[in-house]
């Protein structure tokens, strides 16, 4: 491919990640597809190469400008290698041919680690799905010889839809206060513990329906209760437990962008209130908070406040080296305003003929020194995988979460990356 000088600006959300990120705060999330067969590395490499021809917006590297970072076309070879490190680790561009995503494999699993500047979970899923489709087609040419999947129309639209949709007149959201921070001894050697809770989706749906709440509301309430019972009470917490829930803005605004286009809501549970100490009371509160915060007006308010900040003429004109210092310092404080994050990207739809090759999908978010546990979930067929990524040695929150699900009569099974097994073995 000839060298060109194509470049593009970072979208409003993406701007913050390269400035705030570091080895301790990687801003990387992982999407994995577990197939029913061993991964062939050479086929996977060819599949990724082919997908990148159609999804060229991911073929970029990050460059420093005088005021902001920007993306420039990357013509280097993509590296596909066996998984060797913990998930969601900081992607060092110099060891990854400058790419901002990393494709690895382990036995039956294809991993796609993405630096959040590049895109959000929803566009990330489109990217992973294309890799999986192409891999299956290449690995089983006999099954797809006659009926090759029609070239799907893949969007390479890299418009900043934040700028298109924000409300210039919107008043800023209220300032927030610090949240309860999970306490406990951290894992040594920068390890990340992963625990996947496989949940029977049918039973979960029934239970949520019975309680008249959505699955996300139900799981959020269980998570808050797990934190309260296993960590908050033990350490006599006083500040509220705050759970940050990312929201896909494509559901609220018309958008085809492959860039980031998400916002968030924060559910704040003041656990000193008696009404929140029973599960039903907590669930009612979570439901009401979701209904209050998940309106187009409220979401637009949060989004607009962030866009206005990034669009402020004074902030824009601060040189990048100063932004790096200011943002890193302010992020030390901002991160203390949430206890944890729970991202549910929902059902991952797969074309019929391909489903028989796939076992499940996984999503993981990088935990860090302040938000020591992060949670994510996604579902495929009749299985929802709720994932805890943690830098804590103990698994009390995870255990309390699973205990509650079992008490609710929901079937679960647990898989992990062995980090917590090693700790308990020792």
């Amino acid at each position: 491919m000839p060298e060109t000088n194509n470049w593009r600006r970072l979208d409003n959300s993406a701007k913050i990640f390269p400035i705030a990120s570091s080895k301790k705060y990687s801003s990387v999330f992982r999407l994995s597809a577990v197939l029913k067969e061993k991964i062939n590395p050479s086929i996977l490499k060819r599949a990724v190469d082919k997908v990148l021809v159609n999804l060229s917006s991911f073929k970029v590297k990050l460059k420093k400008g005088a005021f902001w970072y920007y993306f420039e076309e990357n013509n280097k070879e993509i590296i596909v290698e066996e998984e060797k490190n913990y998930p969601c680790k900081y992607i060092e561009p110099s060891t990854n041919n400058d790419y901002l995503f990393k494709v690895t494999y382990w036995e039956n699993k294809i991993n796609l680690d993405i630096f959040h500047s590049l895109t959000d979970g929803n566009s990330g899923i489109i990217f992973l799905r294309e890799i999986v489709y192409t891999y299956i087609e290449m690995a089983h040419p006999e099954d797809f010889a006659k009926k090759l999947r029609l070239e799907r129309k893949l969007s390479n639209n890299t418009e900043d839809d934040y700028l298109k949709n924000y409300d210039k007149k919107s008043k800023g959201a209220k300032g927030s206060k610090r949240a309860y921070a999970l306490k406990g001894k951290k894992l040594p050697l920068a390890a990340i513990g992963v625990n996947h809770v496989n949940i029977n989706l049918k039973l979960l749906k029934e239970k949520a329906k019975e309680k008249n709440v959505t699955i996300t509301q139900y799981l959020t309430a269980i998570l808050i209760q797990a934190i309260y019972q296993s960590n908050y009470q033990k350490h006599r917490g006083k500040k509220p437990i705050k759970v940050c829930i990312p929201v896909d803005l494509r559901k609220y605004f018309k958008s085809e962008t492959v860039n980031n286009f998400f916002s968030y809501i924060v559910v704040q549970a003041d656990m000193n209130l008696k009404t929140l100490q029973s599960f039903d009371g907590l669930l009612k509160f979570v439901k009401e908070e979701f209904e209050r915060l998940l309106t187009k007006e409220e979401i637009s308010k949060t989004m607009s406040a962030n866009v206005k900040l990034g669009n402020n003429a004074f902030i824009k004109s601060i040189p990048l080296f100063l932004k790096l210092v200011i943002v890193k310092l302010s992020y030390l404080e901002i991160r203390k305003h949430t206890t944890t994050t729970f991202s549910n990207i929902g059902r991952i739809g797969i074309i019929g003929e391909y489903q028989k090759y796939i076992d499940k999908f996984l999503m993981l978010i990088a935990p860090e020194t302040v938000e020591k546990i992060k949670c994510s979930s996604c579902s495929f067929e009749d299985n929802l995988v709720f994932t805890f990524t943690s830098v804590l040695e103990n698994t009390e929150v995870e255990e309390a979460f699973c205990k509650r699900l079992k008490e609710e009569g929901i079937e679960i099974s647990i898989e992990g990356n062995g980090v917590h097994d090693i700790i308990s073995e020792n």
């Binding site: 000088n5 470049w7 005088a66 490190n85 992963v194 004109s317 990356n417």
Partner: protein, 190 residues
């Protein structure tokens, strides 16, 4: 089937760097002690410390595989100029650094950039910003000469280096003017 590989130990890839930092620190400390114990007429240990700092800048910059060659030229121009100035001051300022050494460094940097421009016109957009930085740096001695006439006492080398810098910039503008405008647009976008 397992979902993850077992990662029982994480290699400390920075161990070599930590050892090198300790060795550098010890070397500098030994030189300071020996210098202060033997003679304090002139502080030659500062030359050693400046040399160690220069070596570290060069090593740390060079081990990064993705460094643009033109950015190395900029870093070396600044680092060697600073080193020569340091040595000149430590040895009792005679002005050879600002009068001779720095203009020669600037000449070499400009010629290197000019060669890069000529051999890779199509990839020039990669070097444009560094070309502009080197051009800006190249005129500093000349500006100093105009403002304070006692700083540069022998302006011949400064005049030659500034002329070469002006010629290099002009050549680059003629050959790759569009690239320079595009690069400025990209790097300076708000």
């Amino acid at each position: 089937m397992t979902l993850y590989p077992k990662i029982r130990s994480v290699k400390n890839s920075h161990l070599a760097i930590k050892i090198m930092i300790a060795v550098s620190f010890l070397l500098a400390l030994t030189c300071v002690i020996v210098n202060l114990c033997t003679s304090t007429n002139y502080l030659w240990c500062l030359i050693v410390i400046a040399g160690i700092l220069y070596t570290w800048i060069t090593v740390m910059y060079s081990i990064n595989r993705n460094v643009n060659i033109a950015s190395s030229v900029v870093v070396q121009t600044i680092a060697i100029s600073a080193l020569t100035l340091c040595i000149d001051f430590i040895l009792g300022y005679q002005g050879w650094a600002i009068n001779i050494a720095i203009p020669i460094i600037i000449m070499v940097a400009n010629v290197t950039i000019l060669v890069l421009t000529i051999v890779s016109v199509r990839r020039y957009y990669k070097y444009a910003i560094y070309q502009l930085i080197i051009s800006a740096l190249s005129f500093i001695p000349l500006i100093l000469f105009w403002i304070w006439d006692d700083v540069i006492t022998k302006p011949i080398f400064t005049t030659i280096s500034s002329s070469i810098a002006a010629f290099t910039l002009l050549m680059s503008l003629i050959l790759c003017g569009k690239n320079i405008v595009e690069e400025l647009d990209r790097r300076l976008h708000l």
